[in-house]
């Protein structure tokens, strides 16, 4: 299967912002255009479509894949159609946006066979039979690669040719095998071995140490024997001392008890003496009867007849003395409680008495106040009596007043009449005096002298009715005053009656309170007497009980003293029975400590020996460990040395293989390259080419290397000499030589590609040679399609004889590059 290009569509790829389509379905495709119009971009688009990346990105790392996207676009898309000799079409599509999202597919005759990016890469590689690196070396021949070979130094040229031949990897492997690292590790191990050797030299020899250890073990055995003997002796002494100590302990215990008992007896005697001094001895029965009598009298006072009976029934005996004492104390307690109650009662009565007395005094004060009021009111009562005696009762006075008022009315009327009469007389008199005559204005009677005399007499007569009136008025006044006073006094008398009642009541109450006070005073006197008596009885009983307790204590002490004395006698007897020799004990103890000291010395010797043995063992172990480690390290050193030797051998093998392959490939190339050169180079001065390989030594980073260098030689027709082509020939000739070489490589490579791409292949090459080169390429077996990207306009003429050739013209535009089909 041989594949060729049919069509490509690009959008957003490098200079192409818009969608462009180029039909490659021709044996020769020429892409013309000035710099920057996208000639190389189209060739790169083909490479990107096939491999999803570029050689300059993936291998040379000149820029990033994102840089392929046009600056005015968010993504790129490339669609490439290939076809084989049977007309089967292979369509590969690649899409990538700025966020790194990708899409791709591979179709065969419009049927999608793969849509996963990485799988498409391997499918394409399989279809083309060549990887990205091979494609870049043998299919798409770049101007820059050609320049590297022509104008580079011998070393650069050789490296570039190695790259083209595909054997530079072997050179890289040869250089990269890190022998130094192994050497370093080996050196570290050697150092460690040396350190171990130094340490081992410092130590005693191992066999001497083992001999020493044996001697120490023998000494240890002997010391252990001695120790065992001392242990037996010590055990005997220890047993003896144990028995003696037990005896001593027992003896000491008896002695201690004896001392304690003696001290206790002395103490008892002292106490007994003191008590005997304190209490005169009295008969217990008499004492008990006295106590009984006192308590009974007191119980009678509080009328506790049941308790009285209980006390009476008690009988004196030594055994029941405690019971009696307890009962006596109980009853005394009861009496004390009763006494407390009586005291409380007396207090209560005293409170009542004080209250009654206060009440009595208050009543008395109130009565005195009432008496004083009564005295005043009695005076008023006397006045009342006097007035009633003088004027009569209030009703009578009222009647008199009414009578006098009537009389007074009459007198007033008389006085008014007399006044009128007198006024009339005065008028008549006056008229008479004035006129000499006069008549009565009432009856018209003429006034004569008689009448005048009578008038004058009347006018001059005293006024008795006026005198009477004054007298009546005076009486009336007096009566009215008496009347008013009586009203007033009547109220006072009512008040006096009320007070009198109240005074009588108070007097009665006062009598009652006085009787109460007397009664309470009698009661309190009785209680006080009772309390005093019970108190005396309790005090007497208590004192007797105290005495009884002391007497009882004396009896007890005497008994106790007797017991202690008996006990002491027993202890003394026991002390006699225990045989304990202090001197013998001391002798045994001395012997024991002497044996113990000897034993301790031996023990410390033994301990020291053990430590020495342990140290020696550790030392031996340490030396053994050092020896073992040295052995292990030596083994490692051997392994590492073997690895180093292996790698040196492998390294040499890669170098040898590289030389062999180089020779094989070069042998293959020379023949083919000569054939192509002869077709391409139309001039007669050079007839043949060959490649010579020579080995050169060189230094890099302080180390010496050897590598093979290529020399391309051309045979000069004139003298038949082989001359170095890349040094002696012109630029154009050199370019033809290299194109011959690259084309030969294309031919020799076992791939499935039938197209060759030439990027700017012919600067400095004359027209004739250019034409010959294109013709030659077109004729080469296995090349069905030639794609040329160039600035050189002469290619229009070169391909004019080729009827199937297609020419695209690229030009600059504002919105990026534009493509025109010229032919």
């Amino acid at each position: 299967m041989k594949l060729r290009l049919k069509k490509i569509e690009v959008e957003g790829f490098k200079v192409f912002s818009r969608n462009h389509s180029l039909d490659f379905n021709a044996p020769i495709v020429v892409i013309l255009g000035p710099i920057g119009t996208g000639k190389t971009s189209i060739l790169e688009a083909v490479e990107y479509a096939l491999y999803g990346s570029l050689y300059s990105i993936k291998i040379r790392r000149e820029f990033r894949v994102e840089d392929l996207i046009n600056d005015f676009c968010d993504n790129l898309a490339v669609k490439l159609i290939l076809t084989d000799e049977n007309g089967v079409e292979y369509e590969v599509y690649r899409y990538r946006d700025r966020a790194g999202r990708v899409k791709a597919y591979l179709k065969v005759n419009d049927e999608t066979i793969e849509d996963e990016w990485s799988k498409i890469d391997s499918q394409i590689e399989h279809l083309l039979g060549i990887g990205l690196e091979g494609y870049a070396r043998q299919i798409a021949l770049r101007h820059r690669e050609i320049e590297d070979i022509i104008y580079g130094t011998d070393m650069q040229r050789s490296e570039a040719l190695d790259r083209l031949l595909g054997i530079e990897t072997l050179e890289k492997i040869f250089r990269s095998i890190p022998l130094k690292r192994i050497e370093d590790e080996l050196s570290k191990i050697q150092n460690q071995i040396e350190i171990i050797d130094i340490r081992l030299r410092k130590e005693e020899p191992l066999d001497e140490l083992v001999g020493k250890l044996e001697r120490y073990k023998k000494e240890l055995f002997e010391a252990e024997e001695k120790i065992r003997e001392r242990e037996r002796l010590l055990s005997r002494y220890r047993d003896e001392l144990k028995k003696l100590k037990e005896k001593e302990k027992e003896y000491e215990k008896i002695r201690e008890k004896e001392i304690t008992l003696k001290a206790e007896i002395a103490q008892l005697k002292k106490r007994l003496k003191a008590l005997e001094k304190e209490v005169l001895e009295e008969d217990l029965g008499v004492l008990v009867e006295k106590i009984r009598s006192s308590i009974m009298s007191a119980l009678k006072e509080i009328m506790a007849y049941k308790d009285l009976e209980e006390i009476e029934k008690l009988e004196l005996s030594q055994i029941k003395l405690d019971v009696m004492l307890r009962v006596f104390h109980e009853k005394l307690r009861k009496l004390e409680i009763a006494l407390e109650n009586m005291n409380e009662e007396a207090l209560d009565i005293n409170y009542q008495l004080a209250s009654q007395r206060n009440h009595y005094n208050a009543l008395k004060r109130k009565l005195a106040d009432l008496e004083a009021k009564m005295y005043t009111l009695e005076k008023e009562y006397n006045t009342f009596k006097f007035l009633t005696e003088k004027f009569g009762s209030r009703a009578e006075i009222r009647k008199k007043i009414e009578k006098l008022e009537i009389e007074l009315g009459k007198i007033d009327n008389l006085i008014r009449l007399n006044t009128c009469i007198n006024d009339l007389g005065k008028h008549v008199l006056s008229a008479y005096i004035k006129n000499g005559e006069a008549e009565c204005p009432v009856c018209g009677t003429e006034i004569d002298d008689e009448i005048l005399k009578r008038i004058k007499k009347r006018l001059s007569a005293p006024r008795e009715e006026v005198f009477n009136r004054d007298k009546i008025l005076k009486n009336l006044e007096e009566l009215k005053r008496a009347y008013s006073k009586l009203i007033e006094l009547e109220e006072k008398i009512i008040e006096m009656r009320e007070i009198e009642n109240e005074r009588n009541n108070l007097a009665k109450e006062l009598d009652e309170v006085s009787a109460n006070i007397e009664e309470l005073e009698d009661l309190i006197s009785d209680i006080d007497f009772k309390i005093s008596r019970i108190n005396n009885l309790i005090a007497s009983a208590s004192s007797l009980l105290l005495k009884l307790a002391r007497v009882r204590e004396i009896v007890e002490l005497r008994k106790e003293l007797e017991v202690k004395k008996q006990e002491l006698n027993k202890v003394l007897k026991k002390a006699m029975e225990v045989e304990f020799d202090k001197n013998y004990y001391n002798t045994i103890e001395e012997k024991y400590y002497a044996a113990l000291s000897e034993y301790n010395n031996l023990s410390s010797c033994l301990k020291k020996l053990n430590i020495d043995i342990e140290n020696l063992k550790e030392k031996i172990a340490y030396i053994q460990e050092l020896v073992n480690k040295k052995v292990r390290l030596e083994k490692k050193a051997v392994k590492l040395s073997r690895l180093r030797d292996d790698l040196i051998e492998i390294k040499a093998a890669f170098r040898e293989i590289q030389s062999s392959i180089r020779r094989i490939v070069v042998r293959r190339i020379i023949e083919k390259m000569n054939d192509l050169f002869q077709q391409m180079y139309v001039h007669p001065d050079f007839s043949e080419l060959t490649i010579k390989i020579r080995n050169v030594k060189f230094k890099r980073e302080g180390r010496e290397y050897e590598r093979s260098m290529y020399e391309i030689l051309a045979k000069r027709t004139r003298d038949g000499k082989w001359i170095p082509a890349l040094k002696k020939m012109s630029d154009g000739q050199k370019r033809i030589v290299i194109l011959s070489l690259l084309t030969a490589l294309f031919r020799l490579s076992p791939h499935n590609v039938s197209f060759i791409i030439l990027d700017e292949p012919t600067p400095s090459i004359d027209y004739e040679c250019r034409k010959a080169m294109i013709k030659m390429l077109a004729k080469i077996e296995g090349i069905d399609q030639i794609i040329v990207a160039t600035q050189d306009e002469s290619f229009k003429r070169i391909v004019q004889d080729e009827p199937a050739a297609v020419i695209y013209k690229l030009r600059h535009e504002k919105e990026g590059a534009d493509i025109e089909v010229l032919r």
Binding site: L165, G166, I167, T169, L170, K172, I173, S176, I177, P178, R181, I182, E185, I196, R199, I611, D612, N615, L616, E618, K619, I620, A621, Y622, I623, E625, L626, K629, R632, L633, K635, K636, K639, L640, R642, L643, D646, L647, E649, I650, A653, F654, E656, I657, S660, I661, I664, V665, R668, L748, S749, P750
Partner: protein
């Protein structure tokens, strides 16, 4: 074209390594591993293989080597 001419460089290298170390399988295997690993991962891969080989050589039979205490056994 001979059979040799049809082979690519990769196949030739592997074949030659096999031939070169036909008596030593270990070396042949190591050399082939180095070649393949270098093609896949470059110098880093080669370094890794050598590191592994050094580790294998340094790995003691009874586990990792421990440093011996210098002061041990000095109590005598």
């Amino acid at each position: 074209m001979s059979r040799e001419n049809d082979k690519n460089v990769f196949e030739l290298v592997l074949e030659m390594l096999e031939e070169r170390f036909k008596d030593d399988n270990r070396k042949a295997s190591l050399a082939k591993r180095i070649f393949k690993e270098f093609l896949i991962s470059g110098k880093r891969g080669l370094d890794r293989i050598v590191r592994e080989e050094i580790y294998k050589a340094l790995e003691s039979e009874d586990g990792n080597e421990t440093t011996i205490e210098e002061n041990r056994g000095r109590r005598i």
